[in-house]
């Protein structure tokens, strides 16, 4: 488990992170969500030791992350970069060796990973000769080649076509299933919603919401319900304490001031005819995000 505890960071007089704390559980994909300038990249850089925090600490399984541990994290920075004139396989092997792998293992891991990412045939080409999508795959290979203890990926899916997203995702899932904590940031809330087990939402350098996708939705559910019956739903508008959001024949979506009031509506509906569905409406991640960052 990777834990970030009470991190503060200022650049000159501007405080960019305030008491940032969250955990990345092993075997789970944690989505890191926040607007531009919210502090995602700074947090990740501190996690990797590229930047130093003013205070706070990063813990691995309860003990402070050592230099040696840091070398064993796989990192893909937001600012992508590989040596343009170096060959793909050569370059990935170089990174594996920098991370401490022996020459043999480095070579073997590189071949396996490039095959997995669909770059097996391009190992002998220079990076600059690859398409942007393939450069991105090579970048991911560079982050994974040393069998990392933990993965920290800044916007790993940006610039990938839907098929490539699936390829990369499969590789990441494989690592997560093997028990590696995976943290990735993204602007694409739908992707985070689809892929992540846990979500951390930050804004203005502070954690605004944290938890599993399900628990976040439940927590921000409120008293919004959707009702689908055979009778016309127009009568629901007349119920005190209820505000109807949308109404179309027998389908009504509404906010209730209390849960009991919602049950009254259900009863009323049953009195008027058969009811096919009555469910709480869970907000999408995008809605929760808008709510918590305001």
């Amino acid at each position: 488990m990777l834990e970030i505890r009470g991190i503060n960071k200022s650049f000159a007089t501007r405080q960019v992170l305030t008491n940032m704390s969250f955990t990345i559980e092993p075997g789970r994909m944690t989505g890191f969500v926040g607007g531009n300038g919210a502090g995602k990249t700074t947090t990740m850089r501190i996690l990797l030791g590229v930047l130093e925090a003013d205070s706070g600490e990063v813990l691995l399984d309860g003990s402070p992350l050592s230099e040696q541990d840091r070398r064993r994290i796989g990192y893909m920075p937001e600012e992508r970069g590989l040596y343009p004139k170096m060959k793909v396989a050569e370059q990935i092997t170089y990174f594996a060796r920098l991370h401490g792998l022996g020459a043999e293992t480095a070579k073997r891991n590189t071949e396996r990973l490039l095959d997995q990412l669909g770059l097996g045939e391009r190992g002998g080409d220079t990076i600059e000769s690859l398409s942007l999508g393939n450069q991105q795959r090579a970048q991911i290979a560079a982050a994974l080649v040393h069998d990392p203890l933990a993965l920290v990926l800044d916007e790993p899916f940006s610039g990938l076509d839907p098929l490539a997203v699936d390829v990369v995702l499969a590789v990441l899932k494989e690592r997560a299933n093997a028990g590696v904590p995976v943290l990735f940031s993204s602007h694409q809330l739908d992707i985070v919603e689809r892929l992540c087990d846990d979500i951390v939402i930050i804004s203005g350098g502070q954690v605004r919401a944290v938890g599993s996708a399900q628990s976040l939705r439940d927590a921000h559910r409120g008293n919004r319900f959707s009702l689908e019956g055979e009778a016309d739903g127009g009568w629901v508008r007349e119920v005190p304490g209820i505000s109807v959001l949308s109404f179309d024949g027998g389908h009504v979506e509404f906010d209730a001031d209390t849960a009991e009031r919602a049950q009254l509506v259900l009863r009323g509906a049953l009195d008027r005819g058969p009811v096919h569905a009555f469910t709480p409406v869970r907000p999408s991640l995008a809605q929760i995000y808008r709510e918590v960052v305001q």
């Binding site: 488990m1 092993p26 075997g27 850089r45 990797l48 030791g49 590229v50 930047l51 399984d61 309860g62 230099e67 040696q68 840091r70 070398r71 064993r72 994290i73 990192y75 893909m76 920075p77 600012e79 992508r80 970069g81 590989l82 040596y83 343009p84 004139k85 170096m86 170089y94 990174f95 060796r97 920098l98 991370h99 401490g100 792998l101 022996g102 293992t105 560079a142 982050a143 069998d147 203890l149 028990g179 590696v180």
Partner: protein, 374 residues
């Protein structure tokens, strides 16, 4: 949770990581056609210089073309067979005939000594007597020199110039290579992955080491070409006097070069685009010019030369030149070397600081003070 942690491989040492970085620098450089071409042309240039100096000294490939001399009687014995191809003839008349027919370059005959010709030896030639022959037969007084080996004038100048030129060329060539490699990592943003993997000091050290080794190899190749060239053209005397200073030059060069390489890397890290490299490294380029112009203009001025031989940036050129002419005491190169070593350590620490402070900065040029603040 520790069960989820994969087996950690043995921690790679700082040295092996530094070597990995250095190795990459070298292989990339050796694959660059531009680099190979410029190295080859520098070596050819030195070879041409050595050969020209050989011809200018009048030696040429004299070993191959002996002067053909006809000699009558006992004078043949005094002619050195290494320089002359001696043809013994029976009479003075035969000797004259061979010269006339052009079969020999000149003839030497011995007659009774007279007032006008006290040795009795006469050289006969068509239009001009070969210099080698007349000087071989000339009586010269014994010469005793009191001031060292008394090398002055043009030799002193060329010697200083050669050391200065080699130092400047290598430092500028490899310095800008290091600078470009630093900026390449910044401009391609690869530096962030590197920083998250290895320490900035190791990265800097590896770069400096890799490029320094290439520079040393180049200088060694130049030295080898110069030595082989000098002996092939028969300039053995010059070679003998150059030996010790060349060794000192190499020692000073190694540390002096590391000093400059660290400065080049530190200053280059202040900018993020290849276009800005030139202006960023101008200050070091100027420093590199100092020893070159210093020794070129002041090689006859003992005070300036003494100062130059102690200042870290010019010591690699100044000290060997002073040693070559026997102007320096035995302990002087050691003191200068100690000063150089201390400066190397200070500059590397400073450069690592600048490097660390500026690597993540992108955009325009960073001010030195900002980089040092970190």
């Amino acid at each position: 949770m520790s069960t989820t942690r994969p087996v950690t491989p043995a921690a790679p040492s700082v040295l092996s990581t530094t070597w990995l970085v250095a190795e990459r620098e070298m292989t990339q450089r050796l694959r660059s056609k531009a680099f190979l071409f410029s190295s080859a042309s520098l070596i050819v240039l030195v070879l041409v210089g050595v050969l020209l100096s050989g011809f200018a000294a009048g030696g040429g490939f004299s070993g191959d073309e002996k002067t053909r001399v006809a000699a009558a009687g006992p004078v043949a014995a005094i002619l050195d067979a290494k320089t002359f191809e001696v043809e013994n003839v029976a009479s003075n008349e035969d000797a004259r005939a061979l010269v006339r027919e052009g079969k020999v370059d000149a003839a030497v005959i011995a007659e009774q000594p007279t007032q006008k010709n006290p040795t009795g030896v006469t050289v006969i030639a068509q239009e001009k007597a070969p210099d080698a022959l007349t000087s071989a037969l000339t009586l010269r007084p014994q010469v005793e020199l009191l001031g060292g080996d008394g090398v002055t004038g043009p030799l002193r100048f060329f010697m200083a110039l050669a050391f200065g030129l080699i130092f400047m060329m290598s430092a500028v060539t490899f310095g800008s290579v290091i600078a470009q490699s630093v900026v390449e990592e910044k401009s391609t943003r690869i530096v962030e992955i590197l920083m998250s993997t290895i320490s900035v000091r190791v990265l800097l050290a590896g770069k400096v080491l890799g490029n320094s080794l290439l520079a040393f190899a180049q200088v060694a190749a130049i030295a080898a070409v110069a030595i082989v060239g000098l002996s092939a053209t028969g300039q053995d005397a010059l070679l003998a006097g150059v030996g010790a200073p060349i060794i000192w030059f190499v020692v000073f060069f190694i540390f002096g070069f590391v000093l400059l390489a660290a400065l080049f890397a530190g200053l280059a890290s202040l900018v993020s685009r290849q276009e800005d490299v030139g202006s960023a490294i101008t200050p070091v380029t100027m420093l590199v010019m100092i020893p070159y112009f210093g020794v070129a203009f002041f090689n006859d001025n003992p005070v300036v030369m003494t100062v130059l031989s102690y200042v870290p940036f010019s010591a690699p050129v100044g000290m060997p030149v002073r040693l070559f002419f026997g102007d320096a005491q035995w302990w002087e190169p050691l003191v200068a070397l100690a000063i150089l070593l201390v400066s190397v350590i200070l500059v590397i620490l400073l450069a690592a600081r600048i490097y660390r402070g500026s690597l993540l900065h992108t955009g325009g040029k960073l001010k030195l003070s900002e980089a040092l603040r970190g």
